[in-house]
Symmetry: C2
Subunit: 329 residues, 2 copies
């Protein structure tokens, strides 16, 4: 079988599986970190949501790419979920003094360096994928971190208080306005990052990390050119529910699902993702929902999906690998 011979050719570590993971913010970054700790670097490619990207102070800021990158580099601020641990905020204070626009978006000084260097590279004509690879390399990250697209896609939240770019909804308004609709500007014409093509060809499994299905996984799926890779994917497609016991472990996923009239549960998430996934992982706390998930035609797995420590992340990653191995066997 062609896939197998290709796999052996990449010096596959015992029991490893080449994986493409889809991730958004904090929850996604946690599982990515777990996967990176149990897979050889060449077997993991992470596709990251860029719908949250925004320009502040003339700098190109990619919050989800940064969250995953800082996590993998061991730099992430675990308390806040964004930014660099132990960062200072001197520049932001001074920007406020200058009456600069957009100082409601928290930017630490070390974080600022990331945006400065990335913006400089983009202005010099690098793609976002190239700039990301460069920054990751400098931080010693060996796993491939790739934006879903090098073209701009912007998540826009239509709320009862008006149409808001994602960061305004998420940070400035702290997700308070009631959501009517979410759309992804630019998605229709965006193309998959060319760096992802070989990874999709090589991968035997696709893992949708426990990220917000609407605004983290949603924008990735909204790029037709990416979506077609998922639809036509030859390997296994596994998704982990970010909703546990009817609640989002972090962020506005539960609130958004509810306001959009969807069920706030792992079943609601499964309904959203059923077309692009084969195996759906729910938390032990949701084991009473097994039959509903299976009724959607999904292969259902119950695991302890809550990740509070690095050990939890590695454990969940190992368990997911085992699930995939069992089914690929």
């Amino acid at each position: 079988m062609a896939v197998t011979s290709k796999r052996s050719a990449t010096r596959c570590v015992e029991g490893s599986i080449p994986i493409v993971a889809l991730a958004g913010g904090v929850g996604g970054a946690k599982l990515v970190q777990g996967l990176a700790s149990v897979l050889p670097a060449q077997d993991l490619t992470v596709v990251v949501n860029t719908g949250d990207d925004e320009v502040f102070h003339g700098l190109y800021i990619s919050p989800d790419l940064d969250t995953v990158m800082y996590s993998l580099a061991g730099l992430a601020n675990r308390e806040t979920g964004w930014g660099v641990a132990g960062d200072t905020f001197s520049a932001l204070g001074m920007l406020k003094r200058y009456g600069a626009v957009g100082t409601w978006f928290n930017l630490g000084d070390k974080d600022l360096a990331t945006h400065l260097e990335r913006t400089r590279l983009l202005r010099e004509g690098w793609t976002l994928s190239q700039a990301t690879a460069h920054l990751c390399e400098k931080l010693g990250i060996q796993v491939s971190l790739v934006p879903m697209s090098d073209q701009p896609v912007r998540t826009v939240v239509e709320t009862e208080e008006g149409v808001l770019p994602f960061q305004e909804y998420f940070v400035k308004h702290q997700c308070r306005p009631r959501v009517k609709r979410v759309r992804f500007e630019g998605a229709k014409t965006a193309r998959i990052s060319s760096s992802l093509e070989p990874a999709f060809r090589k991968a035997k499994a696709l893992v949708m990390c426990p990220s917000n299905p609407i605004v983290s996984i949603g924008p990735i799926l909204a790029v037709p050119n990416v979506r077609s890779r998922l639809d036509g994917f030859k390997g296994l497609r596994l998704a982990v529910s970010p909703i546990v016991a009817g609640q989002a472990l972090r962020g506005p996923a539960a609130k958004m699902l509810q306001e959009l009239g969807e069920e706030v549960s792992c079943v609601g998430v499964a309904r959203r993702l059923r077309e692009v996934c084969d195996i759906f992982v729910i938390d032990m706390l949701d084991s009473d929902r097994q039959q509903e998930i299976q009724a959607l035609g999904l292969d259902m797995v119950v695991l302890d999906t809550v990740m509070n420590s690095d050990e939890d992340k590695a454990r969940l990653a190992r368990q997911i690998l085992q699930v995939l191995r069992d089914r690929l066997a």
Copy 2:
């Protein structure tokens, strides 16, 4: 007399004189601070050297404008002579980690905010004069701070170790390479900032602050369009020697004068500036050089020009005002 009536029309404070001051870095900033403390704000316009300006990390940095601005805002770091007092350096450390180009140029985090906001304004089409006025207003500076030109002028130092942009010579190589020639790229076609026109029309005196005559005052004089305002100036033109007892109080002025084959003394400076000045102020320590200065056709004044404290700065400014008043009477 037209000039007198114009002066009274500007609600002149008792004993004040509308002044245009020319300044570069630290020494210049000190006298500017002194002048600002004894003159009503509307009577002081400061023309600042922009030959040192450079782009680092994609940001437009104007070291002399910043030094004067931070001094007037009470933010200047008195120990280093550049940057903001008590600043952090988190971003720079991270930029080094990214292997960014130009991290030899020290940039504090608060300082970075200045460059971010200025660069954003410039990209939006503001002139450097407009951006400077905006930043100054936000820092509560009432005196007019104006770049010598809104067009780029770049000081380039031809040394025995090659041709160096000013910041490379000054910061990266710490002024070590022997200077053969200094030139000001772009000066010939640069025009005076339009914000300066009314100030030059109103001014009754022009004060060249004790800044490096070669690389601080030099670039200002190199712009023909500025130079013609000085040549045709109807009021008094006074210069303060930055060389005291054969030494520069700060910076490479003495070393540069020597390497360019000029006399390293207040007399050497006077020779450089004689065509654009009427009154030349030397320090008490140089009182033995009085006759040589006068022999150049200059009106010579001896003052204590060393400024170690805010009191020194105000005292020297008051004494200079008195010199000007005496001659305008």
